[in-house]
Each structure stands twice: as structure tokens, then as C-alpha cells.
Symmetry: C3
Subunit: 207 residues, 3 copies
């Protein structure tokens, strides 16, 4: 339980948290919410997925033990409060979110593997790290969560997480495996953003 | 914290997970969701209740440390995807769910007692094990959860969990106590399925 | 991880749990729910916030390890079931809830600090302790959660938690710091109840 991940790039991690926190804050501003709600949405979207992952794998919850993550989320909320939300909506945020999604899915999978979790649950931990913050944000806002939408989102997280686990299983050097996995997930999500690609729904004959 | 439950029948546990996972996958197919959503619903319904229980009692989360549970949930999602959902809806699934509910309520209570939890919280852990996966599934799907419906569901889980705790308190042999508790919960739930039995709502005079 | 909080007033804690549990039970009665739903709402509202806090800071979950908390929640549900809910609605419950909110925010922050959590996350733990039970209650009931309403609620919890952390940082005696923090949070929430004070929503030009 005292496993450490010495080389997880702390700055990358903080940037990922900030991007996710921004998506939460921007949703709150679109809903004309108060600053307190905005801060809460920034926090829960930024750290929700990693918190669930850490609880499930038995790791200390990362942001509770870190003095910087929570202040960064609060700073993001302040930024969103004092700027027009049009600055942040649209394609730029979508692309930043795609990068955060791919990075988190890979880092979440790698952390689970480092804690001795078997490959299939480890991939699921990666997906949870990338997606669950947004799911909680959407449930609290009372809108259909990303889980329920056909766009390629969870699928891109699953691809990144799966590539990361495959790389570890093949014994590839971490730098290569992680980079390839992040690139794969980011590319798939980016392709979906650019083209509107979506998965087909269930429509079994007689279904 | 290193308590083990040597005799919890692992096969029974996997079957219960699979049945619950199927109820999640079938709901996703009814909502015409994609395969990824279906897999997510299968997982969360199958393992949600046990995960919350394990977190609350301080046990390692069962499916994260087990190489089989998550693959079984994924296999259930594949099965649901490639078959007409009419195969799975209706009475057969209701009865299988009733069996899973009773079994999980008993196993959850027994695990909590084995971790030294007092009887009342242990019974609540059994109820949580049986019901919370379905609650999370319903909240994510945006429909009223089983908690909010008058049908005898949570009540049947509470009966099974309470009988299990009573049997332990009376010092009955585990085989007998568990069997009686599962039978009691399953019978009550089955009676409700067969007759539409429901609890009365609050309607206090002046209320 | 084996930190103890010898002087947290256990009676105060139980009273706070009971007040929150009552708000959950009263909501269930207003929705004409069954007794089982009422008991579930009482439990989740009474212990939800403290449970999430304990999981996040790595403490044993308080009510699972305590033989009294869960029975108190069940007793509150019985009380609510056998009395007209008009007895409990309205101003009296609002004021009791305000007291519970302030007390929980302070106790939650103090517990987090005692576990070695840094000030900013510790304040967030206080807010979570005070508010998350109500958030889960509202999500399960399918109504907009307190997080989404402009009234001063989360803000009052944040004030109480912030004052508690500030007092600890200044080295004030705990009795003084806690009392001042609870009084501050309670006063702000009380002022909002009495006057309808609410925070402004986001309405940036061009937003």
C-alpha cells in the first residue's frame, strides 16, 4: 500500500486536473450558477475520477494528501468566474479535455498496475479515472451523463487505458508505452470531435 | 483488516454478480445505448453494491483484487449486446434478480460481521450490498431508483440481512443461518413479484 | 491512521446526525414514500457526508464502527413515520439543520486536520461533511441538489470550516476556535434563512 509512483509527471497531472476542473466550472457558468457551485463543480470534475480510482485500489486519495491540487481547482473556479464563459467554451476546451482524458486514462491504468491490480480491472481503473469526474458533474447538474451519450468518449479512454496495459504486458519501456497510449486515445477522441463520429446504439432485431 | 472469508462460495458470488450485471446491461439495451454504455452499466450494477460495502467496512474492494469479476461483467455485456433483449426481460430476469438480491444481502452481512461490524450496521451493509448497484444504475439512467418505488425490494434485502445477523447472534451454524436467510429474502421478494405486493406510502393525518 | 479524536463531543455528534437524518426522513414523507425509503433517506442524509470525508482522509468510517449511529438514524425514521410531517417541516427544522451544518463543517475540518491533511483540503473536507449527505439525498429524490441553489448553504459551511482551519493555524485553543467557527457558520446560515439572502449567479458580460 506504500507503493509510490516516482516518475508520474506531477506537472502533467496538475494540468490534467485543471483542464477537467475548467470543464466543470464552465458548465456551472452556463447554468448561471453561483461562485460556490462553480468551485464545487470544478473540484468534483477535476478530482472525482482519480478519487474513485484511489479508493477502489486502496491508495491514499491523491488530492487530499497533496497541498496543491485543491488550490488549483479553486483557482480555476476563480478564473472561470471572472472571465466570459464564451472564452472557454467550444473547440479549444473540447481539445484540451481530449488531452486530459487520454492522459488520465493512461496515468490511472499505470497507477493501478503499480498497485498490483490485474490487467482487466486496471484498464477499468483507467477508464474510471478519465470519465467518472464528468459523470458526477453531469448527475449533479441533472443532465444526461457522458456515459449515456453515443459520442466516442468513454471508448477513447478505454483505448488509451487498454494500450497502456498492453504495453506493460509486452514489457515495453514506459515512456514509449505511455506516449503511444496517450496518442492513441487522444487521436480517437479528436477524430470524434472533428467528425462527430459516434457509436451505434443497441438495435437488435426483436430487441 | 486481513480477515478472510475462506468459505464464501466463489462460484455463487460470480453468479450473483453476473445476474446483477445482466439487469444493468438489459436496461442499457432497452434505452438503445451503445456497447460501451452497456458494459459500464453491467459493471456498475454488478459490483456497485459490494464496492460501497467494502469501502465502508475497510475491506479491499473485492472485484479490483479479483482477476475474474470484471471479465465476467464484460462477458455479460457482450452476451446482452449480441442477443435480443426480449430474451432477458420479464419474469425470468426478475426471479434471477430476486435470487441475487437475497444472496448478496446475506453475503454482505456475513462479510461485515466477519470484519467485526456491530449487528445494526452489518445488516445495513447487507442491504447496501444488495441494492446500491441498482440504485447507481438507475441514477445514471435518470430514472427513479428502486429506493423510491413502493415495491418490496429493499425490504426483502433487509429481511435476508436481518435473518443472517439474527442467526449469527443466536450462534446457529452458518450453513443453516445463511440458507434460511437467503430463502426468507428470496421468498418475500418472489411473493412481491408474483402478487405485486407493495408497502404503503406515508400518509399521516395532517401529514 | 490510528489518530483518535478523544474530545470530539460524542453527544453533539449524535445530535447532528439525528438532525440531518430527520431532514432526510421528512423529505421522504413529503414525497409519500414508504417506511423503508424513509429509513434509507434518514441514514444516507445523516451519515453520507461524514462517510465520504472518512473515505477520503483514510479514516475508518465513523458510523460503521460505532454501534449507536445507525440505530439513531433508524429511530429518527420511526419517529418521522409515526408523526405528522407538518411537525417537522418549516422553520424549526431549518434552524436545527443550520446548527447541524455548522457543527459538522467544524468537526469535519478538525478531524481532517487531526489526520494531517493540509488546510485547503481540510476545509473542503469540512464542507463535504456538512453538505454531501444532503446532496446524495437530493440526487436520489431526483430534485435539484443544494449545490445548485443560490441560497447561502454551502457558503455557510465553508465559512465555518474556514474559521476552524484559521483558528488551528493561528494556534488558538480548540474550544475557542471551534465555538467561534460554529457560531460564524450558524449565524450566516441563520441570516440567510431569516432574510432569504442568496448569492448572485454567474452573469458575465458576453457570458
Amino acid at each position: 500500500m506504500s507503493v509510490t509512483l516516482p516518475q508520474i509527471p506531477a506537472a502533467l497531472d496538475l494540468i490534467g486536473t485543471a483542464v477537467f476542473a475548467l470543464t466543470g466550472a464552465v458548465l456551472a457558468s452556463r447554468l448561471r450558477q453561483t461562485f460556490v457551485t462553480m468551485a464545487f463543480f470544478a473540484l468534483i470534475t477535476g478530482v472525482g475520477g482519480g478519487s474513485v480510482r484511489d479508493l477502489l485500489i486502496g491508495a491514499p486519495v491523491f488530492w487530499v494528501r497533496d497541498p496543491w491540487v485543491a488550490p488549483v481547482c479553486m483557482a480555476v473556479a476563480l478564473l472561470a468566474w471572472f472571465t466570459p464563459h464564451k472564452w472557454w467554451e467550444g473547440r479549444l476546451l473540447d481539445w484540451a479535455d481530449a488531452a486530459g482524458l487520454a492522459a488520465y486514462a493512461v496515468l490511472g491504468t499505470a497507477k493501478a498496475l503499480a498497485f498490483g491490480i490485474a490487467p482487466v480491472p486496471a484498464v477499468l481503473m483507467g477508464v474510471i479515472t478519465g470519465c467518472v469526474g464528468g459523470v458526477i458533474r453531469d448527475v449533479l447538474a441533472g443532465r444526461p451523463s457522458i456515459i449515456m451519450r453515443p459520442e466516442i468518449y468513454v471508448t477513447a479512454a478505454a483505448l488509451a487505458a487498454g494500450l497502456c496495459a498492453a504495453g506493460a504486458w509486452l514489457g515495453l519501456p514506459r515512456e514509449i508505452a505511455w506516449s503511444a497510449a496517450m496518442l492513441g486515445g487522444f487521436s480517437l477522441r479528436g477524430y470524434a470531435i472533428a467528425t462527430g463520429l459516434a457509436l451505434p446504439g443497441y438495435q437488435r432485431a426483436g430487441g
